[in-house]
């Protein structure tokens, strides 16, 4: 910070988006502080499955930004902050029945439009991937995606020593006056020229007008088997459908089977609008595991050793919120990623840092960032009025 004790920028929220933003600000030579109510990756980032997935993103701005972020994540993994966090691996989508097969066709078309970052390597039946259940009609193998546990990514960014850290420190007020923002942390107050609010599920606390909802997801972890038998995430095509619809449309949660480096499997996940992380139940576990075993029958021999729920910040229209915060001149919002923050964090952090430094977003991405602006909610309200 400068001689008057004012930071160039304060980032609120030490999840993967906030940590990436802080790292990029520090690289630009700005003085930066990172604040969190609890600590690094304490919410959705720490409870995520870690999939860096373009395939699961909604077509349009989100899929294009995810593609750019995947490419940039790979760069940051080449000796950069994500070198020990990001691991490339193949990914697999499986489907049964015509609706799921159509979803896979749409996915292939979407990926072709997005260029070569994620490529279709193979498209076939269950024999395409040894170990897949024989009741599965269709499997496609993709290459180009990867795995990055949210906690590891945050740790990677936080190895940058020029980031001042404040936690546990909930922000109780955010006051903008003139050329300065005051970030009140209970008894302590930080002063900054600019703020990036990467608040995730805590967004409504400081921005109550924004339609950000806590959406819980139950996740289950098995004991260890031999690592590497399933080479990458195995995702139900029903998940692609679910990501483009409201949670209530599909009666049963689609399954994603994520092999961990330990030889364990992470099985997820539900989308539940109550946002209560203590609601984890046996019937949901059973439903998910029934579907998981259909896709990967060897899971039948495993044991579930951990059950938990993460809470993602979901936005009513299914798009994140990135842009100037309503009612503020000097506060940039980067929130509402609903689990997509793992994949998007690299590019969002970079561009949020650029915008905070007074620069425009990368020209190729400008239109897509415009679609994420919080101004879209103001327009809806004005239009309705």
């Amino acid at each position: 910070m400068n001689a008057e004790g004012i930071y160039d920028a304060v980032v609120i929220g030490a999840g993967v988006v906030g940590a990436s933003s802080a790292w990029h600000l520090a690289q630009a030579g700005l003085s930066v502080a990172l604040v969190d109510a609890e600590g690094p990756a304490a919410a959705a980032s720490g409870a995520s499955d870690g999939a860096v997935s373009v395939a699961s993103k909604k077509p349009g701005p989100l899929a294009r930004l995810a593609t750019a972020s995947l490419l940039y994540t790979r760069d940051l993994a080449q000796g950069g902050p994500l070198s020990s966090a990001y691991h490339p691996r193949p990914s697999y989508i499986f489907g049964t029945g015509s609706a799921e097969s159509a979803a896979i066709d749409a996915l292939i078309a979407k990926l072709a439009q997005l260029g070569t970052a994620v490529r279709l390597r193979a498209d076939g039946d269950a024999t395409l991937l040894p170990g897949v259940g024989t009741g599965i009609d269709r499997v496609v193998a993709l290459e180009g995606e990867g795995h990055m546990p949210g906690y590891a990514a945050v740790q990677g960014y936080l190895r940058e020593p020029r980031i001042d850290r404040f936690w546990p420190a909930p922000v109780t007020a955010l006051e903008e006056s003139g050329s300065e923002v005051r970030i009140v942390l209970g008894t302590q107050t930080l002063r900054a020229k600019r703020v990036i609010a990467a608040l995730g599920t805590a967004t409504p606390r400081l921005f109550p007008t924004l339609p950000v909802l806590p959406r819980a997801g139950q996740l289950f972890v098995t004991d260890r088997g031999l690592a590497g038998q399933l080479p990458g995430a195995l995702t139900s095509a029903a998940y692609l459908l679910a990501k483009t619809t409201a949670p209530s449309v599909l009666p049963k949660p689609p399954v994603v089977i994520d092999p961990l480096a330990t030889g364990q499997y992470l099985i997820g996940s539900t989308r539940e609008d109550h946002g209560d992380p203590t609601r984890v139940d046996f019937e949901t576990l059973r439903e998910l595991m029934l579907r998981a075993v259909e896709a990967w029958p060897a899971l039948r021999a495993r044991r579930v050793i951990r059950a938990f729920a993460g809470v993602r910040a979901a936005v009513s229209d299914g798009l994140p919120i990135v842009g100037s915060a309503p009612g503020y001149e000097r506060v940039l919002l980067a929130t509402g990623f609903e689990g997509d923050g793992i994949c998007l964090s690299a590019v969002i952090g970079r561009e949020a840092a650029r915008m905070t430094a007074g620069l425009s977003p990368d020209a190729a991405l400008a239109a897509d960032f415009a679609a994420l602006s919080p101004a879209r909610f103001a327009q809806v309200q004005e239009g309705a009025a």
Partner: protein, 86 residues
């Protein structure tokens, strides 16, 4: 009261009615139950199903040797040998 025989790999191990797999193996002089997936030795430690250190593969499933009651003909392997998915 003799209950029958279980198999530790190819080795036949007699057991008493109601006896746990861990007990039958231990009385047969088998105290190392091979390796787990991390390469750590599997063996009885707490004896009551809490520590998870005596996991073996029983009929293709990982299970605590100390909690599993022997049934005639049961096939038991070191845990790491029973883990293949495909």
């Amino acid at each position: 009261m003799s209950g029958g025989t279980i198999f530790w790999g190819s080795r036949a191990v007699p057991f008493l009615t109601g006896e746990s797999v861990a007990s039958a193996l231990g009385r047969a002089g088998v105290r190392s139950f091979g390796l787990g997936p991390t390469g750590t030795a599997r063996a009885v430690f707490c004896g009551i199903g809490q520590c998870q250190n005596c996991l073996v593969s029983i009929e293709g499933r990982s299970a605590e040797a100390c909690l599993t009651i022997c049934r005639d003909g049961l096939h038991v392997l070191p845990e790491a040998e029973g883990l293949s998915d495909v």
